[in-house]
Amino acid sequence: MEWEVVIGLEIHVQLTTKSKIFSGSSTAFGADANTQASAVDLAMPGTLPVLNEQAVKNAILFGLAINADICRDSVFDRKNYFYPDLPKGYQTTQMDFPIVGPGIVEITLSDGSTRSIRVHHAHLEEDAGKSLHEDYQGMSGIDLNRAGTPLIEIVSEPDMRSAEEAVAYLRKIHSIVTYLGISDGDMSQGSLRCDANVSVRPKGQEEYGTRAELKNINSFRFVERAIKTEVLRQIELIEDGGKVKQETRLYDSDKNETRPMRSKEEANDYRYFPCPDLLPVHVEQSLIDDLRAGMPELPDAKRQRFEEEFGLSAYDAGLLTGERSVADYFEAVAHSAGDAKLAANWVNGELSAALNRDNLAINSSPVSAEQLGGLIQRIRDNSISGKIAKQVFDALWNKEGDSADAIIDSKGLKQVSDSGAIGAMVDEVLAANPEQVEQFKGADEGKRKKMLGFFVGQIMKASKGQANPGVINSLLNEKLGD
């Protein structure tokens, strides 16, 4: 039987506000446990929440970016459950009147096709603290630094039909929130977390299969693997005559398997009701207009502009606009180099490979956009060959000089175009290889082309790569010519 996969994602995005959503404590990551937890975060008796205005603005920006309706009077609710890292015994969240209504996110797949994924809503809420289960001799530690960090939870419709689509959607959300600057999007620090609702159904069937919820899968790669693993499990289960249970499952990336997290018997009744400590959040149209006017260029618009303005391929433009930091870097390189296509090749090629190799984000690239632009200028004016350029790039990467020019100077890498000097090298190489010269003369057109490469290689070697390949070619043709 042919199966269709149905996926919906719930994405939690930590907002980069200076202070927490309901208190003045800092939201910075990595401080000593409980040093960023005030009386409000500790839920001391008598303390009250005060809403952080910036968190509301950030949520509105997200809503505008996905063309969603902004709820003009959204309401905070209490979601009641007991857990040690939830100090109040309820999470303050939004249930019936979330700040962001239905919206649309466009995704592009690897074959170039596009799809629209519907967002059901996005709401504001507070993060919980962290329970630490190690190093406490059978007890658990509680760190409330994270408690009260503002989140938006973005709930999609079950519109995705493959793990690839789910990853593309997640990447797009990541891209939107980082472009807007409302989140750092750092999945390794939990700034962006993803739960996936996964079900399968026979192709053509209208009603959905029973879904399992995969919790907290915290990298793009694991999202894809977790969904694929879960899909296989469900199909095998059904084909063996079993039934999928509605449950929450945990993805174990070490074993590449999903397993049940908690049983249905313990399912919570969260007893949502409007939080009486907070007034409804009234948003004026003028605030929405101001935020819209101040919105940065978003990934789709930037991608289109890169194609039109710089003549880049859809593929290159897509790669360059996935992350705002990459797009900004590329634009700076293109500007300083004066050649967008070369800039695109270098950013997507050499630079991207080096960043991956050293596991660095583009913001911490040892080679600045200006340095790379300067390097490309020297390629463009034939000061260096492409091959030497790679050497210069490595030298820049290793901080051996401040600029491409400085490195070219200090290492004497400037390309030699002087036909006298190159001519001498050509003569030397031809004299050293009489057999090959004879063979060349007797060979047909096709073979000659290949053999020419041999001579060029030898001459390059003799010039330590600095000879201008154009000059070598024309001299060789001249000297070997009939």
């Binding site: 009386a39 500790l42 839920a43 001391m44 008796p45 008598g46 303390t47 009250l48 929440p49 005060v50 809403l51 209490r78 009641n80 007991f82 040690p84 100090p87 109040k88 015994g89 309820y90 509680i142 009744d269 007893r271 949502y272 009701f273 009486p276 400590d277 907070l278 007034l279």
Partner: protein
């Protein structure tokens, strides 16, 4: 002996008849000697009080005295006080010392008050008799076999007994007005949002409001002046200017239209209370007021509506008492569930547990629409009743309670009868309105309270109406037989 009003004390301090240290010492001595009869204090803070009094005396000498400089008062033990235990009369917080002051405490301190200590209350302010306190019941100075009312029973008893000239209270369904009525005092529940709730331990967030309790309307005005105003730490406090309440006490009330709801004079009302209220209305007529009969048709729904909304909010508000971060924790929990279950089973008293269960039930999936949502709809109808009434009257008058102080133990085993003691006060909290209770007579030696209800943020008219009545009556000047 210190059977003084705040106004008396301020006059004495200004005239240097006595120092703050002297008057504070007198109250501390009285508490030490007599509070065994009333149990009105949970914690007395003599050292701190005397230090504050000496500082106040210095400030007064230096000419830097705040409006209430050197006046000793007591705080209901529901307001957090930095460095002094805040128990909320619960075993759960018997060991809790807040690292901060409630806004009310801070503002009164800024005005220069001296804090004698923390007064008893019903556990987490849940009760109408002050019998649910972990620290034992409070006795009414007018009749020590009777309750002082609740939940601010300790504050009321302390003032009536002459152990403090005034105190703070909180009112969720009548917890300032009912004990004020039962103890022969004047107590004001301000408009919801008039006084910050920050640092006031929450019972039902949409209903709770802190306010003053004292002998006279004038003292209420002095205290409210210091307590009221916007607080950026409480999102539900209103950013409105605070009028000069003392200056408003003598505002011209001729032509004041007083509405009397016919629903407040139904079967359950003690006939002697009814006639006392009628007599006070006659007095208002003589003062030039116009008395009109009005109707608040949804009055009978107020108690059931309140006993859904208040417990529902309380069930969430009290979830933080889980034994994890502060307060009581059970011995040797074997796992997390055991920690929660035993901490809360052992740390909370019966009435608190009853209300948490009622609230949890009312919010449960499948019951929410029938209970919580319905109660919210009724709440709107109750508010509309008042809105309609205030189109034709300026204030609304009636009894504060259907009965005078009842005997200790009489109603504690019958929660519904106890809940009905708040029948006239509860609707006011549901509507968020200000209301004052003032002494209006006696029945069998027990005080009777007259309740005046005002428009939103019109405490001025209530205080003026109460004050001007007190210029023509002496009910508020009677001393309880048990008083110092």
């Amino acid at each position: 002996m210190p059977n003084h009003t705040i106004a008396d004390i301020l006059r004495g301090l200004e005239a240097k008849t006595f120092s703050s240290e002297e008057i504070t010492q007198q109250y501390l001595d009285a508490i030490a000697k007599h509070d065994g009869n009333f149990n009105s204090f949970i914690t007395v803070t003599p050292d701190q009080a005397l230090a504050q009094a000496r500082a106040a005396d210095t400030a007064r000498q230096n000419g830097s005295a705040g409006a209430l400089c050197g006046v000793p008062i007591a705080h209901k033990d529901i307001f957090c006080t930095e460095g002094v235990r805040t128990s909320c009369a619960s075993k759960m917080l018997d060991n809790f010392i807040a690292p901060y002051n409630a806004t009310v405490v801070e503002r009164l301190a800024n005005a220069g008050v001296v804090t004698l200590g923390k007064t008893n209350l019903d556990e987490f302010a849940m009760g109408s008799s002050n019998e649910t306190s972990f620290y034992g019941a409070v006795r009414n100075p007018w009749n020590t076999d009777c309750v002082p009312g609740g939940s601010s029973g300790g504050s009321a008893a302390a003032i009536a007994a002459g152990l403090a000239p005034a105190a703070t209270g909180t009112d969720t369904g009548g917890s300032i007005r009912q004990p004020a009525a039962l103890c022969g005092l004047t107590g004001l529940k301000p408009t919801y949002g008039r006084v910050s709730r920050y640092g006031m331990i929450a019972f039902a967030s949409s209903l709770d409001q802190g306010g003053p309790m004292a002998k006279t309307a004038e003292d209420n005005a002095l205290l409210l002046q210091a307590m009221a105003g916007f607080d950026h730490r409480d999102s539900t406090s209103m950013d409105l200017p605070v009028p000069d309440y003392r200056a408003g006490l003598n505002k011209d009330l001729s032509g004041l239209k007083i509405g009397v709801p016919k629903e407040y004079f139904s079967d359950g009302l003690d006939p002697e209370i009814a006639s006392a209220i009628e007599a006070s209305l006659d007095e208002y007529r003589k003062m030039g007021a116009e008395i009109k009969s009005i109707s608040l048709p949804h009055t009978h729904l107020a108690v059931p509506c309140y006993y859904i909304i208040a417990p529902a909010e309380a069930s969430a508000n009290l979830s933080r008492f889980d034994g994890v971060r502060y307060g009581y924790r059970c011995e040797n929990p074997k796992d997390l569930d055991d920690l929660y279950t035993r901490t809360r089973a052992e740390g909370f008293g019966e009435e608190v547990k009853r209300r948490i269960l009622i609230g949890t039930y009312a919010l449960s999936s499948g019951f929410y629409d029938a209970y919580y949502r319905k109660a919210q709809q009724i709440r709107r109808l109750i508010k509309q009743d008042f809105d309609e009434a205030f189109k034709s009257v300026d204030i609304i008058a009636g009894p504060t309670t259907p009965n005078p102080a009842f005997a200790l133990g009489e109603k504690v085993s019958d929660p519904v009868t106890m809940y009905l003691e708040d029948i006239y006060t509860i609707a006011v909290n549901l509507a968020g309105l200000p209301a004052i209770s003032l002494p209006a007579g006696f029945t069998k030696g027990k005080p009777i309270g007259l309740q005046l209800i005002g428009r939103d943020f019109d405490e001025t008219t209530l205080l003026a109406a109460a004050h001007q009545y007190q210029q023509r009556s002496d009910w508020h000047q009677q001393a309880a037989p048990g008083s110092v």
